[in-house]
Subunit: 436 residues, 2 copies
Amino acid sequence: MALGMCNRNANKLPSAPTETGMSRLALSDADKQARDWFIQTTQALGCHTTVDAMGNIFAVRAGMRNDGPPTYVGSHLDTQPSGGRYDGILGVTAGVEMLKVLTDNWVETEYPVGVVNWTNEEGARFPMSMLSSGVWASAIPLTTAHCLRSIHYPHPTVSEELSRIGYLGSVPCSYESMPMAAHFELHIEQGPLLESSARKIGIVSGVQAYRWYTIEVKGKETHTGTTDLKNRADALLSAAKMILHSHRLATTHSALASTGILTLKPGSTNTIPGSVSFSLDIRAPADTTVQTMDHHIRRDFAAIAAGEDILCSNDYCTPSLPCSVSIRTDSDSPAVTFHPDCIKAVTEAAGSALGPDAEKLTMETVSGAGHDSVYTSKRVPTSMIFVPCRDGVSHNPREFTSPEDCALGAQVLLQSVLRFDKMRADRRVTWNYPGK
Amino acid sequence: MALGMCNRNANKLPSAPTETGMSRLALSDADKQARDWFIQTTQALGCHTTVDAMGNIFAVRAGMRNDGPPTYVGSHLDTQPSGGRYDGILGVTAGVEMLKVLTDNWVETEYPVGVVNWTNEEGARFPMSMLSSGVWASAIPLTTAHCLRSIHYPHPTVSEELSRIGYLGSVPCSYESMPMAAHFELHIEQGPLLESSARKIGIVSGVQAYRWYTIEVKGKETHTGTTDLKNRADALLSAAKMILHSHRLATTHSALASTGILTLKPGSTNTIPGSVSFSLDIRAPADTTVQTMDHHIRRDFAAIAAGEDILCSNDYCTPSLPCSVSIRTDSDSPAVTFHPDCIKAVTEAAGSALGPDAEKLTMETVSGAGHDSVYTSKRVPTSMIFVPCRDGVSHNPREFTSPEDCALGAQVLLQSVLRFDKMRADRRVTWNYPGK
């Protein structure tokens, strides 16, 4: 079956200004435009579309037997503030392409198939990633999600922005109201492993654990010129020591630690910051490593704020007044293992698409990043397909996956869905998940 | 002569919400209100007012001989974003009180006397401190000042904001167009020395040197979950090491180093910052110390960005990809020595106001902070008067100076101006300054 989505031949980074990069923050005007396109396009392909209370959009194509929930392909159309053109977007557009190929070729599936666009996967504008697949899976309360505020002035809530752009649906956001048989997600790897090992398809068996925090450091606002070092409670100096220390802890424990947001008050060259808030993102393949990091961070950040020396943080420094610190956990995503039936469907689809070289051109891998599939996997069989991305660069306008690799990923996605659909018909099983 | 400005008796921090703190950023609507008040009040006292091209406002009361430039009292009405009620404001309101006392008591000075309100002394909204006294002294080009942008969105320029609030005057901003005979400034100490030594008046003989920088660190935006520590160019981790290092350098060289502003891009929990910009404020009593700090900062920040170890900054860290750093000097204020004639006038005025205890209740001191007097001292005889402030706290709503101390400072200010006026008449000298 031919896939027509890629009509560029050059395997190189496009150079025209509009060809690279994407800034489509969740529930922005740009996001509304992409959503409108998604609904119009899938409806034109004969799909029935539903918008739920989190603005998730489900486009469903009927099957021969319409007595079971659809097999879904899903990902997200929102991006980082200066993101790329593939992260999330590839998964949704490949889903749309799947619908088009099925329709163009008069293919009838056993059960319905669908494509879902999840709201605010990035957590870039509303600081909770995979927000709406989380609500769908009952892992995040609807009220928490609706009341979450944009990090940008004037800080509207999710529900305000859903209303404003016309995507506050009346259908409840839940796996019970909008049931799925399975969830398949095609995504760029966002890391260097496929490219560096010359593989084409990553068969994703799970996702590493991660935890997100907001750290608040309180000191004392005083004049930079008249307050000697001894009489300062410098919240930023304290935060700088914590950020450095989180990196040292990550090095020691073979984990990852990153700070992507930092704001301070009052924000004046000649006033020592009295208050600093920063994000902390901790990741590791095993839940126990994340728990160990959590333990050290809580103990050591409090000590650093109090002025104690942690790994020579006070060497060559002036002892000064104490700050205080508070640590809030914003997200906690344990390590995830995907479903063997979905992994099998992807493995066989890749084998079929790649032919005799399949074993050399595929690899089983664990995702470093969180995805909506993390939450769907709590409720329904789930797996993911990775395609290579240049230099492992993501969350950056330079993000790039060749048209050929996009097409191959979309081919494997389509075949995975069809194989899963057939498996359901053959087995007539219902997968046993909590709450089902 | 009685001074009527202080009608509160309690020597304690007021508790009502409107009684503490001040947020009057330069050229904001609140600043316009204060300016309107200043003009109306001084005109009602019979003064002639002039607004120059930087929005500096000069209110002049005629003298018996109007053939010489006025002796000025000056300071500023703008504040930090969460500042106090005294920093700058005391100097202007004490000047207004001086005009009132002279008028109420039918005092005729030999030469004219005046009060000046300088624009954007704080550098809090437009990031160059003492901006408009700097232009007046020809130390900062008018174009540079007019094109300076607000640090707050949508980042209007100084000239746009001057026009908007109606304070873009037609008189050139220069010491030639608006000449002064001398400049006296009453200010809170903003440090703890007067209070802790139970002194009432600081006779300020000069100001410590300082230099302001903007540091830009460039790394690479990548995904926090899929980029291992080795493959990162984390601009914030690099900036955190620099901020810590600047404190260590300050400790070593008995200087001050402070960062009050830090912004980063793109600003997302799961994206490693590709770009960080932060302010650096270096101060020391001697110019040579500031030069030494400058030398170390340039050398060491470049090394830290490149990934080299500086004072164990890389201990326990993962070696990673290099960042780059650029360092821009925004302000450079060498150490200042005030004029002996003005210092003498202040010393005698304090002696007269304090009587036989004067020696125990005054101290000669050097200012830790920059003030408009730094720039006026480049063109005319200048000195300052300090009064104690509680706990040395400034740039903070908790800033507090007792009504009695404010009144005493205003008394010394008035007497200093009168003594200087008499000195001019007696000596008939013109002070020889560059450009005069």
